[in-house]
């Protein structure tokens, strides 16, 4: 409440001050009109208090408002004093009292005007606070310089040094000051020193600034750059069309005036920056300013060089041929130069960031070229991050009722495949400052989200880029999703197949095998009951039946094991591999570093590949030993089967490995065979165990 009351009191005070300043300007203009000495430049300085009033009305606490207001007051005072002096000394000498006092007071006003703009405005921009307490020294030093200079010059004895009012002796002059003139120089010297220091503070502040603050700086920088460019242009034009006799050529006059009055852009930009009005369009404004400013400079330079430069050497400046030549040159060079300047401007404005246009065109390029689909989304995330200058960008794919993070920039394996339920509004995906939904024919396919650095905000330009990208990304996400669905369905097939085999093995064990075992016991019981004397042939038949049944049981066991070994289901990969090694026809050893269980599909894939490999080793390799290595590390299971046989195995020929290669691919794995003739065979399978755990879970 107190703060609010304070704010409204400040606001009232500001309005009071503004009205006073406005009245002073009005009086100043009236006096100027009466004294036939209207100074348009002075009138235009009214933009300062106007901007100040806008700032104070919305941010009563922001001292920049008061500084702008103070500048206005000084300018207004200057106008009044000036016109009073002109009236009283030049138009109607002696008609006004104290006209010489007015001249004396007018004289030193440049010090506070330049000083406040150059020191306090720079030091306090944009929040109205010093960057840090140590800058207080600069503020004080500057203030001492301004006030000292102001008072000293006001009281300087002798003839006032003003070409507009010659031979006016300072009525306020104090003779004693004549002996301490060096003190004045010291005071004056403080002003440029403080201005340089303040400019440094502004640069430092800009470099440290982020987000909105940076944009605020950019606005003022853009204004300052424009003013500087126009002043430079004005100088070029003055040289190109030198004053001839009475007045400047019209072109020169126009350019000069535009340049001179362009300074109003500074208070306007300060007002815009502080009030954050359309702050976010600044990148475009600066960009265009740089491009058009540079193009104007280019055209002028060509004209000056050809028409004036060559014209002077051949002694004819009004040569129509030269003008045509210059025009032709400008016309030919315009487009290439503009392109270069545009790129330069982009670099200035966006830095390392690509322009939104570049991002879009690069992305579309990637889509139409043969970029593998798994690379498309990471590229998209990267394009988004670089195009918006975001700290991170994520591309989420909708899978059923969930959003799955498919890609991110910077890359982050840990967070890949994170899943969240599809939010009510796609715009609110966790961990994003802004997210846009990607749709294809109305169906939500995914979300692109960006997270800015702390203190930075998503600008309308970022927003536009995101939306443009999202509208192009529909087809991409749809393709990626189809591929993902295909992969998942392959994995589901493999998992289902394993499950089916496991069930068959168990059914065999619980059913047929148990019954055959019972029969086997029954046969032996019967055999025991048969009397060797009387039932000789029966006993023989029973023995034959028992043997046959024993073989059948063995075959059934082998069949069941081939279907899906119980040891794999119950004990896991390493014991299963050990049991494979035990039964291998070529002496085999197992070296394993696998802790705990892996997803069933991974275990089964590895097991069957090793089983098939051992069969092949036994059949074709002439090996004397084979080593089975299994290692699960960093989320990947690597299994190797290495033999010391004849090598030269052709993975594409015949063997059951081809079918297994498909199976390995279905679980996102790879299968490699190295088999140089005479140097044994090494088969390597790699399966991502972590990723699969989520699919099969």
């Amino acid at each position: 409440m107190e703060a609010a009351a304070h704010a409204s009191a400040t606001r009232r005070l500001a309005w009071g001050a503004f009205i006073a300043v406005a009245l002073s300007y009005a009086v100043g203009v009236v006096v100027e009109v009466v004294s036939h000495s209207v100074d348009l430049f002075g009138v235009f300085t009214f933009v300062f208090p106007l901007a100040g009033m806008f700032v104070l009305d919305r941010q009563p606490k922001n001292r920049i408002g008061w500084i702008l207001m103070a500048i206005g007051m000084i300018a207004a005072a200057s106008a009044i004093l000036r016109s009073y002096a002109i009236y009283g000394l030049r138009l109607h000498p002696g008609s006004l009292p104290g006209a010489d006092v007015a001249v004396a007071m007018l004289q030193p006003l440049w010090a506070p005007l330049i000083g406040i703009i150059g020191i306090h405005l720079l030091l306090l921009f944009p929040e109205g606070r010093l960057p840090s307490p140590r800058w207080r020294k600069v503020a004080w030093l500057g203030s001492v310089g301004i006030v000292g200079t102001w008072i000293f010059i006001t009281l300087l004895p002798g003839i006032i040094d003003d070409p507009a009012f010659p031979n006016v002796r300072n009525p306020l002059g104090i003779e004693a000051l004549r002996s301490v003139i060096p003190v004045l120089f010291a005071f004056i010297g403080l002003i440029p020193i403080s201005i340089v220091a303040s400019a440094v503070s502004l640069v430092l502040r800009f470099r440290r600034s982020k987000g909105t603050l940076r944009l605020q700086h950019k606005w003022v920088t853009a204004a300052a750059a424009t003013v500087a460019a126009l002043y430079a242009l004005q100088m070029v034009v003055s040289v190109a069309w030198p004053r001839k006799g009475a007045g400047d050529p019209l072109v020169v006059a126009i350019v000069q005036n535009v340049a001179v009055f362009s300074f109003v852009l500074i208070p306007i930009s300060i007002g815009f920056a502080i009030l954050r009005y359309r702050l976010y369009d600044i990148d475009v404004v600066i960009n265009k300013t740089v491009v058009y400013g540079a193009m104007a400079a280019f055209i002028t330079a060509v004209y000056v060089a050809i028409v004036v430069g060559i014209g002077r050497t051949i002694g004819s400046e009004r040569n129509i041929g030269l003008s045509i030549l210059a025009t032709a040159l400008v016309a030919v060079a315009f487009q290439p130069v503009r392109e270069r300047v545009r790129r330069l401007a982009n670099r200035l404005v966006y830095g390392k960031r690509a322009t939104p246009y570049d991002v879009l065109s690069e992305f579309s390029g990637g889509m139409s070229h043969t970029v593998a689909s798994e690379e498309l989304l990471p590229r998209m995330a990267r394009a988004v991050a670089e195009g918006t200058g975001a700290a991170r960008a994520d591309v989420w794919l909708r899978v059923g009722s969930e959003l799955v993070r498919e890609a991110g920039w910077p890359e982050d394996e840990e967070r890949r495949k994170d899943a969240v339920p599809v939010p009510e509004a796609a715009e609110t995906v966790v961990g994003s400052d802004r997210a846009v939904p990607v749709r294809h024919q109305g169906e939500l396919l995914g979300v692109i989200g960006v997270k800015k650095s702390p203190g930075e905000t998503v600008t309308p330009a970022d927003e536009k880029l995101l939306e443009d990208l999202a509208s192009q990304a529909g087809l991409v996400l749809r393709n990626v999703r189809l591929i993902e669905e295909l992969k998942t369905s392959r994995q589901r097939l493999v998992t289902a197949q394993d499950e089916e085999r496991r069930r068959l093995e168990r059914d065999l064990h619980d059913g047929a095998q148990q019954r055959l075992v019972a029969i086997s016991l029954a046969l032996r019981l019967a055999r025991g009951l048969a009397d060797p004397e009387k039932d000789g042939p029966l006993g023989e038949r029973l023995d034959q039946a028992s043997d046959e049944l024993g073989r059948a049981l063995n075959e059934l066991r082998e069949f069941a094991r081939g279907m899906h070994p119980a040891i794999l289901t119950e004990r896991g990969l390493v014991p299963a591999l050990e049991s494979l090694a035990e039964r291998s026809t070529v002496p085999a050893s197992v070296e394993a570093a696998v802790d705990g269980r892996l997803p069933p599909a991974v275990e089964a894939t590895a097991y069957f590949v090793v089983s098939e490999a051992l069969t092949n080793v036994g059949k074709y390799s002439n090996a004397t030993a084979v080593i089975i290595r299994a290692e699960a590390a960093d989320g990947t299971l690597t299994v190797e089967v290495v033999d010391d046989g004849i090598g030269g195995a052709d993975p594409s020929r015949g063997s059951g490995l081809r079918g297994l290669a498909d199976r390995v691919a279905a679980v996102d794995g790879t299968l490699e065979i190295e088999s140089p003739p005479g140097h044994g065979t090494r088969l390597t399978v790699r399966v991502p165990a972590r990723a699969l755990a989520q699919v099969t879970a």
Partner: protein
């Protein structure tokens, strides 16, 4: 076929002489969830001079029976409906029961890797190769 054999085999009773031998014989507890197997195994072992003093159909009742009847030998199926045969062995060993345990299964021993060797059982015999002779050989090996 099995039903036919069962009807032919089940009426067979061990002869009275063999019953007398059994008084001196080793006592056996048969643990398996298939009644057919239990009954055939009982007949077979009794025909070879063992005394089957109990049957159990799952791990829990096996432990209970073993604790109460204290057999010399437990013929234990690996695949039981509640807990695995290996776990039963572990619990029996934990209870300090003196009974020797022989594991059996319709699968072969290699289907269980090193589990058979590392369990407290004195050996493994495939179900279809079950015989009193085989059991005695394992017991002899163990003692």
């Amino acid at each position: 076929l099995v039903g036919c054999l069962e009807s032919r085999v089940s009426p067979l009773e061990p002869s009275s002489e063999k019953r007398q031998d059994a008084a001196m014989a080793m006592t056996v507890l048969i643990v398996d969830d298939h009644p057919t197997f239990r009954s055939f195994a009982r007949d077979l072992l009794e025909s070879e001079g063992f005394e089957v003093i109990g049957e159990a159909e799952d791990g829990a009742s096996a432990i209970e029976a073993a604790t109460s009847v204290r057999p010399d030998l437990v013929l234990l199926d690996v695949q039981l409906p509640d807990i695995s045969g290996f776990e039963v062995v572990e619990r029996l060993r934990g209870d300090d029961l003196p009974s020797a345990v022989v594991l059996t299964s319709s699968r072969d021993a290699s289907s269980y890797g090193d589990q058979v060797a590392s369990s407290g059982a004195i050996g493994f015999i495939p179900k279809d190769e079950l015989s009193g002779q085989g059991l005695r050989a394992l017991l002899k090996e163990a003692s």
